[in-house]
Amino acid sequence: MALSRGIVDELYAIVGKDGVIVSDEGRLVYECDMHTFYKGAPDAVVLPTTAAQVQAVVRLCRRERVPIVPRGSGTGLIGGAMAPAGGVMVATTRMDQVVELDLPNRTATVQPGLINLWLTRAVAASGYFFAPDPSSQMVSSIGGNVATNAGGPHCLKYGITTNHVLGLELVTGAGELVHLGGKVVDRPGYDLTGVAVGSEGTLGLVTAVTVRLLHVPEAVKTLLAAFASLVRASETVSEIIAAGIVPAAMEMLDRVIIGAINAGVAPVYPRDADAVLLIELDGPRAEVEAQAERCAAICRARGALQVQVARDDAERALLWKGRKEAAGAVGRVTASYLLQDAVVPRSRLPEIMREMEAIAARHHVMIANVFHAGDGNLHPMICYDDRRPEELARATRANDELLEACIALGGTVTGEHGVGIDKAKKLPLQYADADLNFMYRMRRVFDPDAIMNPGKLLPSHPACGEGFRPTRPALPAGTWI
């Protein structure tokens, strides 16, 4: 689909000529997000600076029935910010201002293009932080975090993006500018803020976000426990939770990842370990001390080969370094991999680990594992060589079986990355027709003409599916998941 000259002229009139990209080479930059499997360049990219401009673009697109694809920093992992049916991509890059910091009320209102970490940097000196910490937080935008309802290692204790969003300014797919929620809690009526968070731009475009800020905890402690068995390490996770401790983060790395990091990043982890469990505790000092002792004792009782407590911030950073560079380091051991984001109830971690080994053996594939163990959110990387098509076929089968195994244990298709185009077809594993139908109808209320991010979030839209073939199946180096 190409846009008519008239539509392009109208876009120029709305955002100015320098705010519209229509050249082939310019559009190419926007043809995919971090999930480079899925490619589709928009016919035009617009870079608005105000909500009024966004609204005018949506109204134009609605009148002309042109699809709209929202885009923040393009760091998503689900093909959410690519244009399967062409149309207009609205990139929030130029809407990157902090609108208001209200520290006495512990809130901030920001434009959607503001980078996640910039907000924390803006309030850190006053002792506050913005809790959602997706691994991409140095580059991902808060609007993107809202769209995908992003999580992160520390959401075990602090919750995901939705738990920190108080209000939104939204231009709906119908072109209406609405204010949902706000700085004050408990607004009467349906919780439309809660519904819009995680809607992946399928209901409208967010033009401002009001978030809650938290006080920086008094103390932080990081522990590393190495185990000779991944199943043992998984059991330890459950035992810590059962002991009444909810750490800020509990992250697991398996043998493949440990090897890749030791070889490629720095020799930070014990060589003979089959699993490394990173535990971070934060809060009042006395509480953190007591919990750290308890966690270390549980790890030892479970047969940990080694338990190490970081003595200072430098050591803490070193323990985390490997975790943060895990996804990149995997590039040393495989050319390509399929990435999953399924969740299982954390008590079923030992079971799914055994199941995963069986699946890997059955399909002759290597599966590397680095995951948010505390909440059972897995990120298995199913490795293959993209020069050998039969390897991709086996990896795909292993991927499907693993996802089905997670669902069978009571899990979910995606824990924090989102659905996008990548997982839309998988939702029926988790939802019955009536459940999906409810979501379709809800979507239509916000977006009556189905122009908002078509083909994403829900299955069986014509634009979603078989037409999209993998092209270059690996995450760029430096991505961490």
Binding site: P104, N105, T148, N149, G159, I160, T162, T172, E176, V178, G182, K183, V184, V185, D186, R187, P188, G189, Y190, D191, L192, G194, V195, V197, G198, P217, I241, A242, G244, V246, G283, P284, R285, A286, E287, A290, Q291, V343, P345, R346, S347, D375, G376, N377, G410, G411, T412, G415, E416, H417, V419, K423, A434, D435, L436, M439, R441, V445, L457, L458
Partner: protein, 430 residues
């Protein structure tokens, strides 16, 4: 009684069982809602039966009012119509409790108290403690969006509800969300139902996130000469590294109801953690309170039971939300109008107000005065309790942003155009 009414009654009896259905012969005045007497009260025992009742109601164009424990039937406008009251207290099973996952799945009629006893054995809790929570049902707590002091640390139902099974207005049983603590698969449908009074579907089953019960919890009461001093203490507390589990302010009328002879304003603070951590933080709390001119006493855990009783006293109940920095001002505004019972959270910006008398004019003056006071901040004043005549003449919800209200109306039209579920009670008389 018409033939059709007789056949509807027969059909209802077939669905829920004769012994679980009240009709004109057994209905009592107490089963009326705001004076509107239903034709039937049905108490289904299963989700299938619940769905059957709603499907029948949709077909017969009957209005259905769901009820849990009946504690919050005065929330919202008086209903436009009441044909069938759906008593959900019979849905009282706990099909799944997974302590190691800190999740539980309950049917809507389970009371928070019975769940709490089940969880206590594993030292876990669902941190939802609005006044009277023990006898209230979890479906009701979700549908009314009720919250209590523990919200400070753990959030509200919107933060705790992971998955929900509900029955749409046409009787279709639908599931939204997940049974694990982290999921972004599809829209966050559970949030749509929190505080929605069942208008987009009657809640049948909830999957909830749990928290470990603190090893130990201490509670202190700090009394101050003025509300401003009390507010200053809370601000200092929030700006410190102390992490209290509950902080609530209580005005003198509440304290007197609780048996204290005083003109003072008090702040109750609880800290729950490991014993050493509670001790260390309690010392810091005392220091801050003294610095703000307060006198601190340690009180027992049962203080919160007394608190809950006083927070629900009064003939008319209001729920006020404003900016945390404006709460003390709102408290003053209330007291300027009436000798009301005021409790609330300076940290979150919420107040619960109990008016001594259900006089329409006093209530109207207070509600309008308060609404004007919180308007600039984007706050709200909800009449959550009071006689029907009060909620008939004073919009119990107050103004809702027009764009947002239009979306809410469209959602309501999409899912319940015939207004089977709780007609007329919700915002904008949806």
């Amino acid at each position: 009684m018409s033939v059709s009414a007789r056949s509807v009654g027969g059909a209802l009896a077939d669905i829920v069982g004769r012994d679980r259905l009240h009709d004109h012969s057994t209905l009592t005045a107490a089963m009326a809602i705001d004076g509107r007497r239903p034709a039937w009260v049905a108490r289904p025992r299963s989700i299938d039966a619940l769905a059957g009742v709603i499907a029948l109601a949709a077909e017969e164009r009957l209005a259905v009012t769901p009820r849990g424990s009946g504690s919050s039937l005065e929330l919202g406008f008086p209903p436009a119509r009441v044909d069938v009251v759906l008593d959900l207290s019979g849905l009282d099973e706990i099909p799944e409790y997974n302590p190691d996952d800190l999740t539980v799945t309950v049917h809507a009629g389970v009371t928070a108290g019975s769940l709490a006893s089940r969880l206590a054995a594993r030292r876990q809790l669902l941190p939802l403690d609005p006044p009277g929570w023990r006898s209230r049902t979890l479906g009701g707590l979700a549908a009314t969006g009720a919250s209590g002091p523990r919200r400070l640390r753990h959030g509200t139902m919107r933060d705790l509800l992971l998955g929900v099974r509900f029955v749409q207005a046409d009787g279709v049983v639908t599931w939204g969300g997940a049974k694990v603590v982290k999921s972004v698969s599809g829209y966050d449908v559970p949030k749509l139902h929190v505080g929605a009074l069942g208008t987009l579907g009657v809640l049948a089953e909830l999957t909830l996130r749990l928290h470990p019960a603190p090893e130990t919890e201490g509670t202190w009461l700090a009394a101050f000469g003025t509300a401003e001093a009390a507010g200053g203490f809370v601000a200092a507390l929030l700006d410190s590294s102390i992490e209290p589990s509950r902080i609530e302010i209580l005005n003198a009328h509440v304290l007197r109801l609780a048996g204290e002879e005083t003109e003072r304003v008090a702040v109750a603070v609880s800290i729950g953690s490991a014993e050493a951590a509670v001790r260390a933080q309690s010392e810091a709390v005392e220091r801050l309170a003294r610095a703000a001119g307060g006198a601190v006493t340690s009180v027992g855990a049962d203080f919160w039971e007394v608190y809950a009783q006083t927070a629900r006293a009064g003939a008319v109940g209001l729920r006020v939300a404003t900016l945390p920095t404006a709460v003390i001002g709102a408290m003053r505004e209330v007291e300027r109008h009436a000798p009301a019972l005021v409790t609330g959270s300076v940290a979150l910006g919420t107040l619960t107000v109990g008016l001594p008398a259900a006089d329409v004019e006093t209530t109207r003056a207070l509600v309008e005065g308060l609404r004007a006071f919180v308007a600039d901040a984007g706050g709200s004043v909800v009449v959550e309790r009071g006689p029907a005549e009060v909620r008939e003449v004073i919009d119990p919800w107050g103004p809702v942003e027009p764009g947002a209200l239009a979306l809410m109306r469209s959602l309501r039209d999409e899912f319940d155009r015939g207004r089977v579920l709780n007609p007329g009670r919700f915002v904008g008389r949806l």
